[in-house]
């Protein structure tokens, strides 16, 4: 018995140790899964793994959109609260070697930032987005990224459902006319009429068109439709707005012709719309762009992007400052706010615009960061301006930049950091 005592004592000690260790074990597993997974395996079905990151959806999208050629994809700010905002994570889920991902601002117009350290031979930091041909369009926290944009060749998304009230016409005799057919203009879209509602499964931002047997006026003119005469009746068309954060979109704004072109007969305004967007990206003369917007506004007065189109039509023209200021003075126009860096407006004017006035005090959110870093970039020459210093500090405070410079951060935030660092 005495000889067995050490063994007995060791067993007690081991049991206590095992108990103490086991008490702290937190299993990163789901206890409910084994039974269901085993059932699946017995039925020769492969259990599906959950994936906490949404990035895999991008890989699915690339396959759905049949994108050809290399893609240099701009991503949201890395440290914005979104699973899409990390180029490293995102690239890991994209098994397309021809896709290169970057945390960038929206790639048009182009921005190049270079840090040169006095006394150093090399460039310390360089950002240049001039070769980007696509931007991820995605729900990013409470907003949709990109917050700012100019124009695009095509806008593709994973299938999203768009429900639109089915339009009705009133003919000359006051009779209600129902549509006889509905179609889309792009092979990535499908559409069906369900009585009062028309449901579109959309993968491409392009019009939905209803065919009517006779001409007439819209029953509800304020609903955002365009009416055109057709050979044997009339056609009503509609362009849905960009997907909102509630749609939880995953898509791309393409800055090069990369997907299949529209295939069927489109309304006249769609051709104008396409020509206008291409004219912006290709820097066609301002007069041509202004004419296209003007014609588009006549053909489709309720087009969802007209305000924005009017601003970007003047981009690069001496009238741009006035056009931009007019739009920004009415309300905070987020899509064109970052173009402040391309204006020649004085800070004394811009600091009183709604975007800045509505900026909440304290910690910045995604939108606040975008607003603040855009003006820091625009008014970088005003080194002693207290408000700009405060905005730059608040931008930096949102990310790892507050403790460490990481060049894979969002370039505009990087600029705010460098601007503060460069101060004497």
């Amino acid at each position: 018995m005495k000889r067995q005592l050490p063994i007995v004592l060791s067993w007690i000690a081991i049991a206590v140790l095992a108990y103490v260790q086991a008490r702290d074990v937190k299993l990163p597993f789901d206890r409910k899964l084994p039974r269901s997974n085993l059932k699946l395996l017995l039925h020769k079905k492969k259990p599906k793994l959950s994936n906490v990151y949404g990035e895999r959806l991008v890989d699915d999208g690339l396959a759905a959109w049949k994108l050809e050629g290399p893609i240099h994809l701009a991503l949201p700010p890395m440290y914005a609260s979104s699973p899409y905002a990390n180029a490293g994570f995102l690239s890991s889920f994209i098994n397309h070697g021809e896709v290169i991902l970057h945390n960038e601002p929206f790639p048009h117009p182009k921005l190049s930032i270079t840090e040169t350290i006095a006394g150093g031979s090399d460039v310390a930091y360089h950002f240049d987005n001039r070769s980007t041909n696509a931007a991820l369009y995605v729900a990013n926290g409470a907003d949709v990224w990109p917050l700012g944009y100019t124009a695009w060749y095509d806008m593709v998304t994973l299938d999203r459902i768009v429900d639109v009230p089915t339009p009705r016409l009133i003919d000359g005799s006051g009779q209600l006319v129902e549509p006889t057919a509905v179609r889309t203009v792009h092979p990535l879209n499908k559409v069906t009429i369900y009585g009062d509602t028309t449901r579109a499964e959309m993968g491409h931002l392009s019009p939905i068109i209803w065919t009517f047997p006779t001409e007439g006026k819209l029953l509800d003119p304020s609903a955002g439709y365009a009416v055109e005469s057709a050979a044997d009746g009339a056609e009503v068309s509609y362009l849905p707005p960009l997907p909102s954060r509630f749609d939880r979109p995953v898509g791309m704004l393409l800055l090069a012709p990369m997907v299949a072109p529209t295939t069927s007969d489109a309304p006249q305004w769609w051709s104008l719309d396409q020509r206008f967007r291409r004219a912006v990206l290709e820097r066609r003369p301002t007069a041509e762009r202004r004419t296209l917007v003007h014609e588009l506004a006549k053909a489709y007065p309720t087009h969802p992007f007209l305000t924005h189109y009017r601003i970007v039509a003047d981009f690069g023209d001496p009238r741009f400052d006035a056009t931009w200021l007019r739009a920004q003075s009415e309300k905070c126009e987020m899509p064109s706010w970052y173009l402040v860096a391309w204006t020649h407006l004085p800070w004394s004017t811009v600091r009183h615009l709604p975007c800045l006035k509505e900026l909440p005090a304290g910690k910045l959110d995604c939108r606040g960061e975008y607003i603040a870093e855009s003006v820091v970039l625009a008014y970088r020459a005003l080194r002693d301006d207290q408000q700009l210093q405060d905005l730059a500090s608040r931008v930096v405070d949102r990310s790892y930049l507050r403790s460490e410079f990481r060049s894979f951060n969002y370039p505009l935030s990087d600029f705010a950091y460098l601007w503060l660092k460069a101060r004497p």
Partner: protein, 426 residues
């Protein structure tokens, strides 16, 4: 007796040796290797089961329990949820798509991919070939293979209660399940590390080729040979401490094996570093080609911004000397990081070492050796801090590397239990 786990791992790492070949030949070798790995997996598993069935049926029963546990966890596995897993998986996905490891890295897009050397990835590559649910489930298979190999190769003479004690304490070890689910590079590294220490503690030993083979596995799981030197050195100390008699021959043999293992580790590390530098260049070239191929359809005004920052001299951080206040701070910091996560394991290691010295005297020295592993990492942080001023940003990496601590604690307790039982019986 062949170490089946080591044999499998060496086969699994073969594509790293193909990196210099490139082109069509590497592609053909890679395709052949994928099936060779599956053959190696089945052969190793069958070997383990056959040996246990023939010589140690109780050991086979213990292995069966381990397999049941691993299968349960495999079935309750939730899904990929960690950056390391994603990168491991990505190397495989790209290798499969583009036909070789060289091409996988060339198309890797982000340089982050080099933060996760391909050893861990390749070890579970058979999950794609066998169409398993995920690489993590394949990792479970490998954990079972390691257990079987340990039972066959080093625990064959150990009694069943000791085996059970070991696996129970291992399974309940601090953060082991977390590593099992997410971060298998560190887990495999720790299991190989532990093999160096456990073999002498359980009365077994590693053969010269096993020393060298495991050294190569270590540096192809984690390319810093300086870190691999800790398990190799600790393994040599364990071999010396467990020797029945101390004489010049034992000392010479141990030093020779350790030197050979260190040489292999250094060569393996140097090879991977030079190969990865070339791969890195190839990736940069590939990325540049992709960007060049994107014909910027839109002409656009470029807003060029130059920022001139302070002179370089004002920003450069001074490198502290090896023996300085900063080095002491680094060691203290590393100790706190380790103790924060693994305090219980450290206490257990210290208690086992003390008890063993009290009970076994000179023969208890081998039980002090496991404690040197976490201490080696803690002290090594001083050297790390010398080269990398922002070393404190790596606290998570340090904590994960120290997963060796609970594994060694489980082995130490089991080994002491076995030794005491043997003495009691005698």
């Amino acid at each position: 007796m062949i170490d089946a786990f080591l044999a499998f791992f060496l086969v699994s790492l073969l594509p790293i040796a193909f990196l210099g070949i490139g082109g069509h030949t590497e592609h053909v070798l890679f395709i052949g290797w994928r099936w060779l790995q599956v053959v190696a997996l089945f052969a190793s598993s069958l070997f383990v089961v056959y040996q246990l069935a023939r010589r140690d049926r109780r050991g086979l029963a213990v292995l069966a329990l381990v397999v049941v546990g691993v299968a349960y966890l495999g079935l309750s596995y939730l899904g990929i949820a960690w950056d390391a897993q994603i990168e491991y998986n990505r190397v495989l996905q790209l290798a499969q798509r583009f036909g070789s490891i060289t091409e996988a890295y060339r198309h890797g897009v982000t340089h982050w991919i080099f933060g996760y050397p391909p050893g861990a990835t390749l070890s579970v590559a058979f999950f794609l070939t066998l169409k398993m649910i995920s690489p993590n489930v394949a990792q479970g298979v490998l954990l079972a293979l390691w257990s079987g190999s340990l039972l066959t190769r080093h625990l064959r003479h150990v009694d069943v209660p000791t085996k059970i004690v070991f696996f129970v304490l291992l399974a309940t070890g601090t953060q082991l399940m977390w590593h099992f689910a997410y971060f298998y590079n560190n887990l495999f590294y720790a299991l190989v590390w532990a093999t160096f220490v456990f073999a002498p503690m359980f009365g077994s030993s590693l053969r010269p080729w096993e020393w060298c083979g495991y050294a190569l596995v270590l540096v192809w799981l984690r390319p810093q040979w300086q870190i691999a030197a800790i398990p190799i050195g600790v393994g040599a100390l364990a071999a010396l401490a467990s020797a029945r008699t101390w004489n010049l021959r034992v000392l010479r043999d141990t030093i020779l094996m350790m030197t050979a293992a260190l040489a292999v580790a250094w060569l393996g590390s140097t090879y991977w570093r030079s190969a990865s530098a070339k791969l890195d260049e190839a990736m940069s070239r590939e990325n540049a080609d992709v960007i060049a191929n994107i014909t910027a359809q839109q002409a656009s005004p470029v807003l060029e911004i130059d920022v001139h920052t302070r002179p370089l001299a004002q920003q450069t951080t001074t490198v502290p000397p090896f023996l300085s206040r900063e080095s002491v701070d680094a060691v203290v910091w590393a100790y706190h990081v380790t103790a924060h996560a693994y305090s219980l394991s450290l206490v257990v290691l210290a208690a086992v070492a003390t008890l063993a010295l009290l009970i076994l005297r000179r023969r208890g020295l081998v039980f002090v050796v496991p404690l040197l592993s976490p201490i080696g990492i803690v002290l090594g942080t001083a050297a790390f801090a010398h080269y990398y001023a922002a070393y404190r940003a790596n606290s998570w990496a340090l904590e994960r590397l120290q997963i060796i601590t609970p594994i060694l604690a489980a082995g130490s307790v089991a080994a002491l239990h076995w030794t005491v039982r043997q003495r009691t019986r005698a």
